[in-house]
């Protein structure tokens, strides 16, 4: 497999080569492989589906079937920073909905939208496991907690600066 052409970086390709050997059946590597591929490529493109299918040894429609089940796997590119606002019960009670509305207004996009400059995407998500510090927001893999609309603005500002670097 290693010698075949791949759309992934050499490191990721090597990781996948190992991954499929870790489970009793190759198929079990499917979901982690999709997640890692998404981190690198940004989304699950058709090319990703094709290569993952080949690596795992299933048909492409089988990969699509699994892929379409998980809401955290996406088939379209999104912004550089994915702002995920939790509106489950703890966050909701501590102002999660307001926070989400604020983000919508501030970024000028709705749920699952992406800003025109491609910097931000916004998503309303289910519990992200940060109830003790509600309301919480996850941006890519980083958490921001105990937020208010004001502190949220700061967070967004930080990311905007990061994007310009």
């Amino acid at each position: 497999m290693a010698t075949e052409t791949t759309i992934f970086s050499p490191e990721l390709a090597a990781r996948f080569d190992k991954l499929v050997t870790l489970y009793p059946v190759r198929r079990s590597a499917l979901v982690p492989m999709l997640l890692y591929a998404q981190d690198e490529v940004g989304y699950i493109s058709k090319a990703v589906v094709a290569e993952v299918a080949r690596r795992v040894g299933v048909l492409e429609n089988d990969v699509v079937s699994v892929l379409s089940y998980y809401s955290m796997l996406r088939t379209q590119p999104i912004g550089k920073f994915n702002v995920q606002v939790c509106t489950n019960i703890c966050c909701m009670l501590r102002g999660g909905n307001e926070l989400f509305e604020h983000c919508k207004k501030r970024l000028g996009i709705g749920h699952k939208g992406t800003t025109a400059d491609g910097v931000f995407s916004l998503e309303e998500v289910e519990c992200i496991g940060a109830c003790s510090w509600a309301p919480a927001v996850q941006v890519n893999y980083d958490f921001h907690e105990n937020l208010t609309p004001e502190s949220m603005d700061k967070v967004l500002e930080e990311y905007r600066e990061k994007a310009q670097k």
Partner: protein, 783 residues
Amino acid sequence: MADVTFTVDGKKLTAPAGTLLIEACRKAGIEIPAFCYYPNLSLQAACRMCVVRIEKMPKLQTACTTVVTEGMAVTTESDEVKQSRKAMVELVLGNHPLDCPVCDAGGECELQDMTFTYGAHESRYVEIKQHRDEQQWSPVVFFDRPRCIMCYRCVRVCAEGMDVWALAVDNRGVSSVIAPNEGDSLLCEQCGMCIDICPVGALTSGTYRYKTRPWEMNHVGTICTHCGDGCKTTLGVRPVNDGVEIIRGDNRDKSGINGDFLCVKGRYAFDFAHHEGRLTKPLVRQTDGKLAPVSWEHAIDFTAKKLREIRDTRGGNAIGVIGSNRTTNEEAYLLQKFARSVLGTNNIDHHRTADYTAFAAALKDKPGREASLRDFASARAILLLGNDPTNQHPGLAWQIRTNVRLNRARLYVANHEDVRLRRQARASVILPSDGYASFVSYLGGNDGAFRGSDLTASFRDVIRKEESLLIAFGSELRGRDIQALVDFGLSLPNTKFACLGDYVNSRGAADMGLLPDLLPGYIPVSASTQFAEEYGSALPAQAGLDLIQMFDAAGQGDLAALYIVGANPVSRYGIDPSALKNTFLVVQDMFLTETAALADVVFPAANLYEKAGTVTNTYGDLQLVKKASDRAGVRTDFEIVVRVVDKMGADPKKLVPFGKGVRADFGQSRGAETGEADRHAVWLVANHLEPKLSPFDPFAVFDEIQRLVPAYNVPRLNLLLGNDEHLKSELVQIESVAGRRDLVLPANDVLYTSGTLGRYSAKLEEVVASATILMKPAETAAD
């Protein structure tokens, strides 16, 4: 496994540990409803219909995923369980359209049954139902999305049963949907298993949809007319103006050797019966050289007169007969009897697709060595030499896949091509296309015969360690090679064999003596005493011309007449039409094939679905053929032969032992021992059978077959009930066949072709022309 005892609804039951509760209950006659559960497929537990109350368990449990345990106490019907099931039905019905009156499944729909049983006909949902237009996925598969109840049966049968994996479930929750592999269409074997297995009308059949209702058809269980597997198919038929038409084929009752399996041909390729080119009137070549329709009486009269004249002036050797791979055993037998006792010739042959003769010789006096198609579903180990069952024997491929999946049977594949069944194989080797004989020799221990590698060596080692092995081989192996293979197999502790030939009654054609040198039961023509006594006339003792020689003789002007039944040798063997210009050619066929077009007389014949009798599949399973459909104007091959014989001036009673007394007996005979009595009548009495009253009754001939061909003398009751009976092949009294020309010409049909007959199936043609099939046929075969 050890048995456990448990209680269901107050009844004490016992079942092996590990049995699923739903199966244990069903075996005890307690019905637990389920949509998603399907025997032999993986467990899903998606529909929640099979919930039961099990004592000491906190919630209702799904019986389809619970195994029975010692002391388990189960309640399958209570208010609580009923309420739960009713709620499930209500949920399922939440988006299910109420189009039962037009739905194909109406009347045989599992959701209908459950709605009636649990009474969830009033919905509390006020939301508008989501409608989606139905989609056509292929020429034979249609999908009506809102009817789908997400039981996953189609997905599983396609993946696990067929190993095609063409269906998957996309999305989740309420937006889950069955998705075909090409987005909006299928790329698959087009077997239609998904349609059959669908508990509702979400997947519908291209041949059957919107045509009728299940209760408006008659359902006739008969044998598929296509490949050599002889799958049982239940044909749904209804009367039309010019006969009885077939509207669908399935095997939902799981009777027969194929269980619920049918391939694309068994399920859809019955429409040749309604092909516009179907002949319904006899044709006779006129003085202007053109074929013109005439009355049956005229055609038969004309043929009989001509045949009689040729026989009387030029002798039987100037007449040839070619039989069919698709007629019943009785018709094949009758045809050879007609040739040998009425025409007086051994010039009789058929298109041979496997060397059954060598196989019979190899198995002589070796009881229980021939495998039934059933054996493939339970064998511990299977060696497949040559052939591509996925294409040529779909029923066999199904049995093997099922066995590998459920019983972890060990499959070994040796083939010159990359056949699909390699996916199931424990080990496989690629052979050179001419390397089968040397490989068999190599298996037997002759290292010099085959240039082996480590792979072939380990392949041989594991096979030789198998304690019980089933060997299936294709027409790559013939004659002496079959003998060598059987010799090798018999050196192992417990081996059975199967010889794979091509058409529904290819085996029967050989067994029934459509061969120039062998009588029914492979008795040499030189040892015909028993048959001559029976037929009441001396039979020619010299072996006749085989099929190739007959056409050579015709070309040289030595064959004055040729009588062809249900075969198309002109196309199959590439015969130059001019070879037949001086031969009186009679053809019985459904269509004006390349062969029939050259004929002087063409009789419009009935097909296998329009007649009764028996056929023998390539594994030696004898099965009953029942008349399902009908077409005005045509007659069975059986009837045509009897009528020609009658008009030739021969006694039909000598041909077909019907009525009482084949020979006059005024009480002066001294009994069967002396050879004077009517042997057939004596045999009938001894076997508690009634004499048949019609000269067209195939069972009168079957009586005679059973009496004269010991291998076919199997218990009849089971057969008449529609079950298969395996032949007693060891009783075949065949002599050595060393040096005999096998003349095997494999048909090389694939999933979507079926010789000449397949060309007349519009549905098959449509499937082949579509972009939806997995394996493209290389070329159209002809027979």
